[in-house]
């Protein structure tokens, strides 16, 4: 009961106050249509407040800690961005374009778009607003859905950065586009932690092809909040590979609300690799709207200390002959906690749906916890759907097999954990990234070992 009273109050007054402060500096403050949209979203947020555990979708993730942080909108910070080195994933020559943000500000010195074919729109939100306003208005208006989704509403109200990518019909971009976001370098006035609300818009038109790599990094122990929303459209026979690396700072909060729609014969492959943040959540809502659509939805999460990582998804099969493969693997150490909630919905008439979902977790320590809720919701009879979920520790027999061959226990454990994660990483069809992430797994294992010594 108490939490309910707390819920309606959680953060709302302070968010309203900070919106007043930030209003004039938010991108598009002089555009009436955008101001209207923001006001509407702010009212929706004020009505519901931050989600609480009484909300079934937030049963296992508590945002109370976030509600108690006195956050300050990042736009109120003075320009320009801090000049500091930014960790990237792929080399400059291997990407078609790169957009770098530090604390939500674009770093033009590190960004480029040298290999983008003509006609492709790729810009950060502020630049996009001045050059492609009609496109932005169309995309934001096309999908509203703020009712009942307070973090999405909050993002719309404060939307302060992010980027838009539109690949025109039939255009294929061979190399990936990388977006690096480094946060936690600066603090607001009075040392208040910053809140960022980036909006990501990706629109791959019919027959087009692109690869997007989001790299969320955070240095140090600064507290900050990244509340991102990604809106993705994959057109008919289009293809998008969408990778997300979440390696936020140790005290950071990260939430991404991902909404995607895949057209006829479209192919959307998304993979999330999460190792960072004190509390992170991916809230994905993916619709297969055209026959022959295919979605690959996967990820790896590696958590330790007191980290909390939540992956929540709803995959909607609206029409016949669509397929979805969902594979998640998690490794949880220390007192960390993993949450996996996946719902697969087959709507009436969506016959011949092929939906598969699996979530496997390794618990490495006594304090580790996993909460999984793989759901199937099916309203058509001619379907093939399955899900599987497991939780446990390393197989003693496998360990013994390796030990019997003279491999010491530590190495044997490392090998087994790496092998466990390998088949999730195999879903990534970008070799350079796969290699990079395999290294990242090894690095994580090394850090863990040092921690234990």
């Amino acid at each position: 009961m108490n939490s309910m009273i707390g819920a309606t109050a959680t953060g709302v007054p302070s968010w309203l106050r900070s919106h007043e402060d930030a209003q004039a500096r938010l991108p598009g403050a002089d555009r009436p249509w955008l101001c209207e949209r923001r006001a509407e979203a702010l009212a929706a947020f004020a009505a519901s407040g931050l989600p609480t555990r009484r909300n079934e979708a937030w049963k296992y993730t508590d945002l109370k800690a976030l509600g108690s942080v006195p956050l300050m909108p990042a736009v109120t910070m003075p320009e320009p961005a801090t000049a500091c080195p930014v960790p990237t994933v792929l080399a400059d020559d291997d990407v078609a374009a790169r957009l770098v943000f530090v604390d939500g500000r674009v770093r033009p010195d590190l960004s480029h778009s040298r290999d983008l074919p003509a006609g492709v729109v790729f810009a950060d939100l502020t630049a996009g607003l001045s050059r492609h306003e009609a496109l932005l208005e169309h995309c934001l208006g096309h999908r509203n859905g703020i009712t009942g989704r307070s973090l999405l509403a909050l993002n719309t109200a404060f939307m302060d950065g992010g980027f838009m990518l539109r690949v025109p019909r039939g255009v294929r971009i061979a190399k990936p586009i990388e977006i690096d976001r480094l946060s936690g370098q600066a603090r607001g006035s009075d040392g208040a932690p910053l809140a960022h609300h980036p909006r990501i818009i990706v629109w791959i038109e019919d027959g087009a092809e692109a690869t997007v790599l989001e790299n969320w990094a955070g240095g140090g122990d600064a507290v900050y909040f990244n509340n991102a929303v990604a809106d993705v459209w994959v057109g008919n026979a289009a293809r998008l590979r969408h990778y997300r690396l979440q390696d936020e700072g140790a005290a950071a909060f990260h939430v991404t609300t991902l909404r995607a729609e895949v057209g006829r014969d479209g192919d959307y492959e998304t993979f999330s690799f999460s190792t960072g943040a004190r509390l992170s959540r991916l809230d994905a809502d993916i619709g297969l709207a055209g026959t022959g659509a295919h979605v690959g939805f996967g990820g790896v999460f590696m958590m330790r200390g007191r980290q909390h990582c939540d992956t929540t998804s709803v995959i909607d099969h609206h029409v016949p002959h669509t397929a979805c493969r969902e594979v998640f693997k998690g490794v949880i150490d220390g007192n960390a906690r993993g949450v996996f909630q996946g719902r697969l919905v087959v709507h009436p008439g969506a016959d011949k749906t092929d939906g598969q979902q699996s979530c496997r977790t390794l618990l490495l320590s006594d304090g580790a916890e996993i909460d999984a809720k793989p759901e199937l919701e099916i309203y058509a009879d001619d379907v093939k759907c399955s899900h599987g979920a497991t939780a446990g520790q390393l197989d003693d027999n496998a360990l013994f097999f390796l030990r019997a061959r003279g491999i010491d226990e530590r190495t044997a454990r490392r090998l087994l954990i790496e092998a466990f994660l390998a088949d999730a990483l195999d879903q990534i069809s970008l070799p350079a990234l796969r290699t990079r992430l395999t290294e990242r797994v090894e690095e994580w294992m090394r850090d863990r070992r040092e921690e234990h010594e």
Binding site: T361, A368, A372, E375, L376, Y379, D381, G392, Q393
Partner: protein, 480 residues
């Protein structure tokens, strides 16, 4: 397999238990208030502590909101528009089986439940509950020789108050959930079983519940205690007349297994499901929970759910004792406009506890069915294991089948495995049968029986036959 086809064939009509027994009955005034509860308590000559407990439950119930989380929809229940007590009129209550009202006896005969001990083929002792009261309990003398207590719960309150007081509400507290709390306030009768240490109950115990009166709710309460090293197998069956109204059935079942004891609880639930358009039928909102208190204890739930307009039921096990075992085998069949939200909870607290869940759901017509389960591995549940398998079979494109498992593990040495599949009866299977001259409906029953076999095998023989028949009947009219 042949027998399955035979039995399906031999049964005609849809719901054959839909008749009404014309018997004079005594009811409490319509509606629910403290007066109703005092009336029930006074009718049963209950001690003061029990009345207090009922009233505490009632007051708590008033403060509780209706549970909304289940995937079922129905108009709000008007709790004042129902009778909470209805009993066939008798002078003093029957002293022996021969004194049972012949009309009642005929009712149970029609249902195929013999109340004549001499006519029983095999040893099954029956407690027959008619509306709010237990009308007969058979084989009591034989059971008493082994020290087994098998009687109605009202009787147990008088004869074994210490056991009832100690255990009632210890597994399902009166604050548990809206329906269980209502039951705690107004429960009328039910069965009480106590198996003394080291005793293997010599026969199957069975209760047969029958709702007869109009506008009444049935609220029975069952309490089974298996003392150290004992074993009991208990069967439960239920039917109701066909009526256009919805009747509420909110039961509570509590099982307690002490050290090395085993309880096997089987249910064939065949309350009236309503007609093809979804008119009438029973709202079956039941709280069933067992506590494996002792080490190496075991509780096994087997259920065949074919009836009721709405089923809301989660037979659960709390595995407290080290090395204790919980099992849940379920077949749920929904047809026409039936809705079922059912599953189990396995709460692993003790070390090396094990649980197994096998759930088979079949949905046809416009029915909607949900498996909702929880497997929780507590921080002290070292070496615990769970395996869950949930399969759904859809017949026709207008029904729904859903799976909502919750898995929570807080112990790294615990292993949890969950698998779920959804499919339809394959055209190949049907073609194979049709080609061999088997009519389509029979072929479907055949395939469905095969799909359910794993669970049907868990049922005691008497029930297995009935259950197989039911599988066939429930699906009648779902193909073609």
């Amino acid at each position: 397999m042949n027998t399955a086809i035979e039995t399906v064939r031999s049964v005609t009509g849809t719901y054959k238990y839909g008749f009404v027994t014309d018997i004079e009955s005594e009811t409490a005034p319509k509606g629910l208030n403290e007066g109703t509860i005092r009336f029930i308590s006074a009718k049963k000559n209950e001690p003061g502590w029990l009345l207090d407990w009922r009233l505490r439950a009632y007051r708590h119930w008033l403060s509780m909101p209706e549970p909304k989380w289940a995937k079922v929809s129905f108009p709000p229940i008007d709790y004042q528009d129902s009778y909470y007590y209805s009993a066939p009129k008798t002078k003093d209550g029957p002293k022996s089986l021969d004194e049972v009202d012949p009309e009642l006896r005929r009712t149970y005969e029609k249902l195929g439940i013999p109340l004549h001990e001499q006519e029983k083929l095999s040893g099954v002792a029956v407690d027959a509950v008619f509306d709010s009261v237990s009308v007969a309990t058979t084989f009591r003398k034989q059971l008493a020789e082994h020290g087994v207590v098998f009687c109605s719960i009202s009787e147990a309150v008088e004869t074994h108050p210490e056991l009832v007081r100690k255990y009632m509400g210890s597994v399902v507290p009166y604050t548990d959930n809206k329906h269980a709390t209502l039951n705690s306030a107004v429960f009328t009768d039910g069965t009480f079983v106590y198996i003394p240490p080291g005793v293997r109950c010599p026969m199957e115990l069975s209760t047969y519940f029958r709702i007869n009166a109009k506008n009444t709710g049935q609220f029975e309460r069952t309490l089974i205690i298996a003392d150290a090293g004992s074993y009991v197998s208990y069967l439960e069956g239920c039917t109701a007349p066909m009526r256009d109204e919805n009747q509420l059935h909110a039961a509570v079942v509590e099982l307690i297994a002490l050290d090395e004891a085993e309880i096997k609880y089987s249910t064939v639930q065949n309350w009236y499901p309503g007609d093809a358009e979804g008119r009438g039928g029973i709202y079956n909102f039941v709280t069933k929970r067992g506590a494996c208190r002792g080490h190496h204890s075991k509780i096994s739930w087997t259920q065949v759910e074919t009836g009721s307009a709405i089923t809301w039921k989660y037979p659960s096990c709390i595995l407290q004792g080290d090395y204790s075992v919980g099992e849940f085998f379920s077949i749920a069949i929904t047809n026409n406009r039936q809705q079922a939200d059912t599953g189990t909870k396995m709460i692993h607290l003790g070390r090396n506890t094990r649980s197994r869940i096998v759930s088979k759901g079949i949905s046809a017509g416009h029915a909607d069915q949900t498996y909702r389960g929880l497997v929780r591995m507590g921080p002290r549940a070292a070496g615990a294991r769970n395996h869950t398998q949930c399969d759904s079979l859809l017949i026709g494109g207008t029904c729904g089948a859903h799976t909502v498992p919750y898995i929570e593990s807080r112990n790294r040495t615990a292993t949890v495995e969950h698998e779920a599949t959804t499919s339809k009866i394959s055209d190949d299977q049907l073609f194979y049968c049709r080609q061999r001259g088997i009519p389509e409906e029979t072929a479907v029953a055949l395939v469905v029986n095969g799909f359910c076999r794993e669970v049907l095998q868990q049922l005691p023989m008497e029930f297995a036959v009935e259950a197989q028949k039911l599988v066939g009947i429930s699906l009648e009219g779902s193909v073609g």
